[in-house]
């Protein structure tokens, strides 16, 4: 069965000025969504990325250039990702569509994991 990575990005400032009550309400929604994925047995993993920093490496004229984040050219910061296992891209879109992260200014990008053939057995 195909697996998809859901990449979550958000503008850096979106959490400013939230009250404890609002923070809790948001967490409750997110956690419930994640629990739902686990219960439907389509959750395969999730990771959070450290925000506000990063390294980019590329070569130019044979030399390795290293850029240190934050990378100012992008408005959104990649915050973390989920891996889910569903039959099609359309199913992955439907799952992402229900995410509470999908509010103003936030972005979810979906990419299918390209496995070696034959695919690794899931356990």
């Amino acid at each position: 069965m195909p697996q998809f990575a859901l990449l979550f990005s958000a503008p850096e400032t979106w959490r400013d000025n939230l009250s404890p009550e609002e923070i809790q309400a948001l967490i409750a929604k997110y956690v419930a969504w994640r629990e739902g994925l686990i219960q439907r047995n389509i959750f395969r993993g999730s990771q959070k990325l450290v925000e506000g920093t990063g390294r980019r490496l590329r070569t130019q004229n044979g030399k390795v250039l290293i850029t240190e984040g934050p990378f100012s050219e992008s408005q959104e910061v990649l915050g973390g990702f989920f891996v889910i296992e569903v039959p099609t891209y359309e199913d992955a879109v439907e799952v992402a569509r229900t995410s509470p992260n999908l509010v103003d200014g936030q972005l979810i990008e979906i990419r299918q994991l390209d496995f070696m053939v034959p695919p690794p057995t899931q356990n």
Binding site: P20, W33, K48
Partner: protein, 454 residues
């Protein structure tokens, strides 16, 4: 009884966040950190807790709720506070004492909460209340600061509750924290010698918090109900500590509980204010009334008769009357006569006049009302004018009644109030000219919300 909080915490299912957990935990964590860092570092404690909660928002969606959410939060807050303190190391204002105290507190066994006893938590919260409600701070600043750091409200929520802007609330908070620092206010429950003065300021602030929540002027209703609940929660905490469990604290708590008991019956389905006599008394919260009566009994100790005692007695007289007709107005008038000696404010005098009207009739009430000097509070004018209008109506002086109701209408604050007065004006048109001048018959009263004993 002392119980480590880490143990009681396992009762919370790890995926379920109990209502207001973050809001209440905010106050507990700020209290705890402020005890370690000193009241001078209140702003650092507050920042650290806010930071920890935002970290939870970043992490928990991806990793799920940790097994011990509170322990997780406090550990993150400790480390944030430590980072902030260390950043100042080279500056003059560097607080090495706070850093040492915090380092000592942080448990070397990573991720485990230090053993923390529930009575210690309660004491820390009380100490923080005493810091926020210090007499050196202006009352409005204390109210905002208590809401922010003890109750865990956001600045936007406070602004909504007080119909103010976030900027002005923020300024108030910053100034208050500066005063705490400059005056070197200590983080402690005051000694018995200082307690009466300090407690008076605390009760003042808590009652302001409550009345702000209770008042039916405009503002966000959900937030306002929360203000009442918080005021009751903090006053209850004061009654549970041996040092602060004074008779007037029980009296204030009883007063709040009696008023809160009537909240569900105060407006009809359309959101219109209902008169005390129109309210469906079966909607009054019996459990709150009984709790109030228990605290009223506990208030009856010592020889100090506070205004809270009298106001609680007054509220009790209303909530224990089986129906409006059975209200004991003689008793209420006696209480107002005592209250006006302790607190001769226009609001008390107006309410006393209304009670007098119930006992001696509208003419006596109007005499009493006319003798009350005018002040600059339009809020009081509307209460006064509405009362004058009502007693003129009862005397059959319909033109005067109309004039006063119209005056009240011109200074009405909220939509429900406006509709209430418009209803009154409309009813004048249908009132027969032969008025019934006898006492105590079906006298319409002011809306319940105006009967606030401010």
């Amino acid at each position: 009884m002392a119980e480590p909080t880490a143990a009681s915490e396992s009762a919370i299912p790890c995926t379920e966040l109990v209502d207001h957990l973050f809001r209440h935990e905010f106050g507990r964590m700020v209290s705890h950190l402020t005890r370690i860092l000193g009241a001078r570092n209140l702003a650092i404690a507050e920042d650290a807790v806010q930071h920890a909660m935002l970290r939870a928002l970043q992490h928990w969606p991806f990793h799920g709720t940790p097994n011990h959410p509170k322990a997780w939060l406090i550990q993150v807050a400790y480390h944030r506070a430590l980072d902030v303190l260390k950043k100042d190391r080279r500056l003059d204002l560097y607080d090495d004492e706070a850093e040492t105290a915090l380092t000592r507190q942080i448990d070397p066994r990573q991720g485990r909460a230090p053993v923390h006893f529930t009575n210690e938590v309660a004491d820390e919260q009380l100490a923080l209340i005493f810091v926020c409600c210090h007499p050196a701070l202006p009352r409005p600043a204390s109210v905002a600061l208590t809401l922010k750091v003890v109750c865990g409200f956001g600045v936007a929520e406070i602004a909504r509750a007080f119909l103010s802007t976030e900027i002005s609330i923020n300024q108030r908070l910053v100034r208050a924290k500066r005063t705490i620092r400059d005056q070197n206010i200590r983080f402690e429950v005051p000694s018995p010698a200082q307690l009466p003065d300090r407690l008076e300021a605390v009760l003042d602030v808590l009652y302001l918090l409550f009345t702000e929540g209770y008042a039916a002027t405009t503002g966000d209703h959900l937030i306002k109900d929360d203000l009442c609940a918080e005021a009751i929660r903090l006053t209850t905490a004061l009654t549970e500590n041996t040092a602060t469990s004074q008779p007037e604290v029980h009296a204030l708590l009883a007063l709040m509980l009696f008023q809160a008991a009537r909240l569900p019956a105060r407006v009809d389905a359309a959101g219109d204010l209902l008169l005390l006599e129109e309210q469906d008394r079966t909607l009054w919260d019996r459990a709150l009334i009984h709790r109030g009566l228990r605290h009223l009994a506990q208030a009856a100790h010592g020889d100090h008769l506070s205004t809270y005692h009298l106001q609680a007695e007054l509220a009790a007289a209303h909530v224990t009357a089986e129906c409006f007709a059975l209200t004991d107005w003689d008793h209420i008038l006696t209480l107002y006569n005592l209250l006006q000696q302790l607190q001769p404010t226009p609001v008390v005098l107006i309410n006393r006049a209304i009670a007098l009207g119930q006992v001696e009739g509208p003419a006596a009430a109007l005499d009493a009302l006319e003798s009350i000097p005018y002040d600059n509070q339009s809020q009081r004018y509307r209460l006064r004018h509405a009362a004058e209008g009502e007693f003129h109506r009862q005397l059959g002086n319909l033109p005067q009644a109309r004039t006063f109701f119209q005056r009240a209408l011109s200074c009405a604050h909220s939509e429900p109030e406006r509709r209430f007065l418009e209803r009154k004006l409309k009813s004048l048109a249908h009132t027969p000219l032969i008025a019934n001048k006898k006492n105590r018959i079906n006298v319409s009263n002011l809306p319940d919300t105006n009967r606030l004993y401010e």
